[in-house]
């Protein structure tokens, strides 16, 4: 019986290999979009709304420079973007592209006061509004926090997803390692720091699981023989899902050296942002300037951005309308895990809807009473989170 199990497992590897020999087509980022603005390598994408009348305040999503934005739209049934569109939002996202050569000199100022600011201006111009919702993800969340503090007049709501703001924590390995990194030497040598260089760091956070067990697990999920057509379809779909994620993980653009230098030094090594001492192009970033509604979302089991790195933001800002949400998932799971579609996206949408209305409209008046009860619930939730 047990020997049969062993043979069965070898069979799984064999079936898996058969699928790999004729790899299934797969695509990522398939939600229809249009490019409405480009600047250097950066593209601003506008997703085609799926409802007739989207909520008036558009959302601009800012993703990290590390890896690509399409993790938020990995596949139709695992797409934060699609979910937000279906919830009636007008969604934009910044695609940073693949920087090279000349981009090594780009600074944080270029990203925050340049690209992000120009994208915000473009959306304001298209929508005819003075303010938009900014949703920052991971490092893009940190950039969004910087932007919201420097240009609060442009932001109606700020949503941060797994975004680090307090870098002085020993909970995350990257936070520990970055302190001993001589970033000057790395940037001076490479110029554009290779994405693979950073990827090696990510793989080192759990090498045995990320380099061995992940692939063993893939073959373990192979369910049946090629004779069973229906089951075989599931096998192919499993592998397709795996390949999508694999593509995303290793699709790592090179990093603009000067930006990385300042980000590592000022944030990871000196922790200046949370102390309101960080400067961009000579201007101090004061988190107290953030007065707009804030939703600070994080993943409980995040190994890259631990909760200690994200939580302090809620207390650091001046916003009176602010909420912290912690979901029992991981750094990537928050976008593509089962909880993402069922819990994370609906909660973000629920928070945003009453805050995405224009002043004085009928919807806002009916929405404001709902908002108050939500705020009360939010306060209760916050107290629960704090107790945690």
């Amino acid at each position: 019986m047990n020997a049969l199990n062993l043979i069965e497992d070898f069979e799984k590897v064999k079936y898996g290999m058969e699928i790999f020999l004729r790899p299934p087509d797969f695509s990522v980022g398939t939600t229809p979009s249009e490019i409405i603005y480009t600047e250097d390598r950066m593209r601003l994408l506008h997703y085609i709304p799926t409802v007739e009348k989207p909520h008036p305040i558009p959302i601009l999503i800012v993703y990290a420079l590390v890896n690509r934005y399409y993790i938020l739209d990995l596949q139709p049934d695992k797409s934060v973007i699609k979910k937000l569109l279906d919830e009636g939002f007008d969604v934009y996202i910044i695609d940073w592209g693949y920087p090279s050569g000349v981009d090594r000199y780009l600074t944080l100022d270029d990203y925050v006061n340049g690209y992000i600011n120009n994208a915000v201006d473009k959306i304001k111009e298209r929508s005819g509004l003075d303010k938009i919702t900014l949703m920052g993800v991971c490092q893009g969340g940190t950039f969004s926090i910087m932007y919201a503090a420097l240009h609060p007049e442009n932001i109606k709501n700020l949503v941060t997803l797994v975004a680090p703001v307090n870098f002085d924590t020993d909970k995350g390995l990257l936070h520990l390692w970055a302190k001993s990194l001589d970033v000057d030497k790395i940037v001076d040598y490479y110029g554009m720091v290779p994405g693979d260089f950073l990827n090696q760091g990510f793989l080192l956070t759990d090498p045995f699981r990320l380099i061995i067990d992940k692939y063993v697990g893939l073959f373990d999920r192979i369910e049946c023989s090629p004779d069973d057509a229906e089951c075989q379809m599931r096998n192919v779909e499993n592998i397709r899902n795996f390949l999508r994620m694999e593509k995303w993980i290793f699709d790592s653009p090179d990093q603009a050296g000067e930006t990385l230098r300042q980000f590592v030094k000022d944030c990871y090594q000196k922790n200046l942002l949370i102390k309101n001492e960080m400067k961009i192009n000579g201007t101090k970033i004061n988190l107290k300037n953030i007065t707009m509604p804030l939703l600070n979302v994080m993943a409980e089991f995040d190994h890259l951005v631990p909760n200690d790195a994200s939580k302090p933001l809620t207390e650091a800002v001046s916003s009176s309308d602010k909420e912290t949400l912690v979901f029992p998932t991981g750094h990537i799971g928050i976008f593509v895990g089962s909880k993402s579609q069922k819990e994370v996206c609906p909660r973000i949408a629920g928070w945003l809807k009453p805050r995405s209305l224009l002043k004085g409209t009928k919807e806002e008046k009916t929405g404001s009473s709902k908002e108050k009860s939500r705020e009360q619930k939010g306060k209760n939730r916050r107290s629960k989170v704090n107790k945690k």
Binding site: N2, G101, V102, S180, L181, K185, F208, R209
Partner: protein, 182 residues
């Protein structure tokens, strides 16, 4: 953790490095003389850069080997009773699971230590010094004499291009503002 054979290797290597610093290193670092002074001095300095990288690599390697041994010991401890005979098919999967979990946890423990962080920082720093040195030598001794563009030159052009692009953006924005004012 107990002292392992790799720590002894480390001690042996540290001793070798001390001797290098005291004897060979001093000869290598001494000022060069004669017509090829500049080149030979730069060339000799590269040797120290290499020795530093090699030392840092050995440091990291011996630490990793020590942790690997520790992980093996823990696996043996956990599976000892089951492993008295051969691994039977009924336990091979459990054995694999125990191995992955134990190796993963042991390495995470090690990687969480400040020791690993400073080790990795040092190794990276030495690697960058070595690579920078190699590139410098390549540019000076091969690319420049062959009249080929060097990375340093390309970087200068890129920097100039970046400044120009930035200036153009600033001017475009100023023109836009002026137009709007009209």
């Amino acid at each position: 953790m107990e002292k392992t054979s790799f720590e002894s290797v480390q001690e042996f290597f540290d001793l070798g490095l001390k001797n290098y610093d005291a004897i060979t290193g001093r000869f290598i670092e001494m000022p060069a003389l004669g017509p090829a002074r500049e080149k030979s001095e730069k060339f000799m300095k590269g040797f120290s850069t290499f020795v530093n990288l090699y030392t840092a690599g050995m440091d990291s390697n011996s630490n990793i080997q020590t942790v690997l041994l520790e992980a093996m010991r823990r696996v043996q401890e956990k599976t000892g009773s089951e492993m008295e005979g051969d691994i039977s098919p009924e336990t091979y999967k459990d054995f694999y699971r125990v191995c992955i979990e134990t190796y993963s946890e042991t390495f995470k423990e090690f990687m969480r230590s400040g020791h690993f962080a400073s080790d990795m920082g040092k190794l990276n720093s030495c690697l960058m010094d070595f690579q920078t040195y190699n590139r410098g030598m390549l540019e000076e001794n091969y690319l420049k004499p062959m009249n080929l563009p060097t990375k340093t030159e390309i970087d200068e052009i890129n920097k100039e291009l970046y400044s120009l692009k930035k200036k153009v953006k600033e001017l475009t924005s100023e023109i836009k503002e002026l137009k709007e004012r009209k």
